[in-house]
């Protein structure tokens, strides 16, 4: 029988299966960070349990840590949480990439970068953006702390198989349009509920032409479309990205692995519960204007007025978003000024993101009324970027060049957007209060964020870069 990649991934991990019960799935990689794990370790201790496979766990600290003066965590509760992770990892024998480590970074940046994220694996983490790892053809999803404890104790999870959706994206993306715009456009068009109860396979020529880093951006935000997880079938792009990574298989073992991974693709006649077809040529650089990722428009767009609502309910949600974001309706996106620019997060803090943004700002200056920061996703990304001289480009333009971490994506550290101010952010959520109480977040791609930093307002990045340069840039995945 024909199978989808999702069927194949699922079937390969079934430990126990019984009628009218969820399947017991084996977990190949458990990523751990400081915020969602302390209560799980405490639970183990309470019941005198141990970690079944510490060798399949990998921990880092990312949410809380400062991006300036990183060894000096001033917030007492943050410090305790970080110390608790250190203590737990030591006690249970789990590898931890702490603040001192050159491998420290955002959990969804370092997994792929170190070759821990591999096709065919089941990967979980107490973080909703675990969907990122699906870019490799892995079955990866976020879990809660009770499930973290369950995986620690048993290396398995009870899971009912979700429905499957095929999102086929065909054609060449327009100039200045990135993977971030694709996923924002998708959520704007189909809504934050479209993926509820589903795992999405992203397929089609656009996705195949994406670099691994672009695929990660796409999968990262599938959770914002309501999906449990998303996946891209592994191919030569995947294999060449993995080749040579620190923990990836080497030599003969790598070749054999590639052969096995090649089988992980949806069979030609495989059926999905739902298929959505997208023409990549329709997509433009996007900017969110409201308080969910679906409240999103092309850069040429105009914020809807309440008169455009089709129902009382829609009108209310529009008015709530207007109120929070400080709009009345009918404002042009290009007229919205920003006070902050954040380039970072598990969506867009990889080397290619920084490289593309640096091309926009090179030789130019950040608008005097904008505070702009670049937060590389990991210490390794930071180092590689510095070898390429990107930090100089950003610093000369007037950006701050920070240490790695989650930073202003959710502001659990000191990187917070003040009340009422606006931020052009490459992160994944524009929920009310996400970047700070009363903070107004506009989600954009790294090049759109860079353009906003220069102009002090949202600007069509296509008007800044000469066309030729932009085309070269588009596939600058590293």
């Amino acid at each position: 029988m024909s199978k989808t990649i999702i069927d194949k991934l699922w079937d390969r991990h079934i430990v126990a299966q019984e009628k009218n019960k969820p399947d017991l799935l084996y977990i190949d990689l458990h990523l751990i960070h400081e915020v969602t794990s302390p209560q799980a370790f405490a639970g183990l201790r309470e019941k005198n349990r141990t970690v079944r496979r510490p060798d399949l766990c990998f921990a880092t600290m990312d949410h809380n840590i400062p991006t300036i003066d990183r060894f000096n965590i001033k917030d007492e509760t943050s410090r305790l949480q970080v110390q608790t992770l250190e203590k737990n990892c030591e006690e249970f024998g789990i590898q931890l990439e702490g603040l001192n480590s050159e491998q420290q970074g955002i959990v969804h940046v370092i997994g792929p970068d170190l070759g821990l994220t591999l096709p065919g694996k089941t990967i979980v983490c107490g973080d909703s953006h675990t969907s990122t790892h699906g870019a490799f053809g892995a079955l990866s999803f976020g879990i809660g702390t009770s499930e973290v404890e369950h995986v620690l104790a048993t290396q398995t999870l009870w899971q009912s198989k979700p429905k499957q959706m095929n999102v086929k994206i065909e054609g060449e993306l327009g100039f200045g349009v990135t993977a971030k715009d694709v996923i924002l456009w998708f959520i704007a068009k189909y809504g934050t509920n479209v993926g509820t109860g589903h795992i999405i396979e992203f397929s089609g020529s656009t996705v195949r032409n994406f670099s691994m880093e672009e695929r990660m951006t796409l999968c990262n935000m599938s959770i914002e479309a309501g999906a449990k997880a998303s996946v891209v079938s592994p191919d030569e792009v995947t294999f060449s990205y993995i080749s040579g990574k620190r923990y990836a298989p080497k030599d003969q073992e790598f070749l054999e692995s590639c052969k096995r991974w090649s089988e992980l693709r949806s069979d030609e006649n495989a059926t999905f519960d739902q298929t959505i077809e997208i023409d990549a040529r329709e997509i433009e650089p996007m900017v969110t204007w409201g308080t969910t990722p679906s409240m999103c428009l092309p850069i040429s767009g105009v914020i809807p007025s309440d008169e455009s609502s089709t129902s009382a309910e829609e009108r209310q949600s529009l008015l709530n978003a207007h109120h929070y974001m400080g709009f009345k309706g009918n404002e042009k996106i290009e007229d919205i000024s920003v006070q902050h620019v954040f380039i970072g997060s598990c969506t867009n803090s990889r080397l290619s993101d920084l490289l593309q943004a640096s091309k926009v700002v090179e030789g130019k200056k950040v608008h005097p009324e904008v505070r702009a920061i670049v937060v590389p996703g990991s210490q390794a990304v930071k180092k590689e970027a510095e070898i390429l001289g990107l930090h100089q480009i950003f610093l000369e333009a007037g950006f701050e060049w920070r240490e790695s971490g989650c930073s202003m994506c959710l502001g659990m550290n000191d990187d917070i957007v003040p009340e009422g101010e606006r931020c052009a952010s490459t992160s994944n959520r524009n929920f009310a209060g996400r970047q700070g109480k009363g903070a107004r977040t506009h989600l954009v791609s790294p090049i759109m964020a860079a353009a906003a930093a220069l102009k002090g307002k949202f600007t069509d990045v296509r008007s800044i870069l000469p066309k030729k340069e932009q085309e070269v840039d588009h596939y600058a995945g590293v």
């Binding site: 084996y26 019941k47 809660g144 048993t154 290396q155 509820t196 659990m412 009340e419 959520r429 009363g438």
Partner: protein, 198 residues
């Protein structure tokens, strides 16, 4: 896992869609290392003004809503972050049941693991359920997990779907990890076969 069989109580109405876990409990309260005491921070940015005074306009701050142990809300409740602090806060505040059109996937699981019953009803059913509404409160609802029903004061019955496995786990309050540890032989066998087959 905490058990759940039946629950009777009044329901507060939070008539909003897409309430994300950042709203249920903002990030500054995720730094603790235990599970207790999150109730006072529930819906923090909505419950309180910046100066710490109570926001009288927030639905749950109404005198009637304070009597509630059930929450009735819109679609996509608990979307966003995986933080289990959200159900910890709801439970600590005193909610035992949440009735919504749909839920964020991870949040739904997190509720079940903490003995909060998340119930999916259609928009119309939710509207009908509220026919006995007194301000921001629906009085006297009776929830029975065994029968998978919600009864209101008028004697109307609303049925809901619930996964039979998780229903059994909740009804019995079984410790999920203990149950799984009984599968040790299957887990070991899976690992051994993986080593052999690659």
């Amino acid at each position: 896992m905490l058990g759940f069989k039946t629950h009777s109580g009044s329901a507060a109405i939070l008539d909003r869609d897409h309430v994300d876990t950042d709203q249920i409990i903002p990030k500054q309260f995720l730094k603790k290392i235990d599970k207790a005491g999150y109730g006072e921070f529930l819906f923090f940015d909505w419950r309180y003004h910046s100066d710490g005074t109570e926001n009288k306009d927030f639905e749950l701050n109404s005198s009637e809503a304070r009597k509630s142990s059930i929450l009735i809300t819109g679609k996509n409740f608990g979307c966003g972050s995986s933080r289990e602090h959200a159900p910890w806060a709801l439970k600590d505040y005193g909610f035992h049941v949440i009735i919504a059109e749909s839920f964020g996937d991870i949040f739904f699981n997190n509720c079940v693991k903490n003995g909060i019953l998340p119930i999916r009803l259609t928009k119309e059913e939710i509207r009908n359920l509220q026919s006995e509404r007194a301000g921001n409160l629906v009085r006297a609802l009776m929830i029975d997990l065994e029968r998978q029903t919600v009864n209101n004061e008028k004697g109307e019955v609303f049925s809901f779907e619930f996964d039979p496995y998780w229903k059994k786990m909740l009804l019995n309050g079984w410790d999920e990890i203990s149950i799984t540890l009984q599968q040790e032989a299957s887990i070991k066998k899976y690992e051994d076969e993986r080593i052999v087959n690659g």
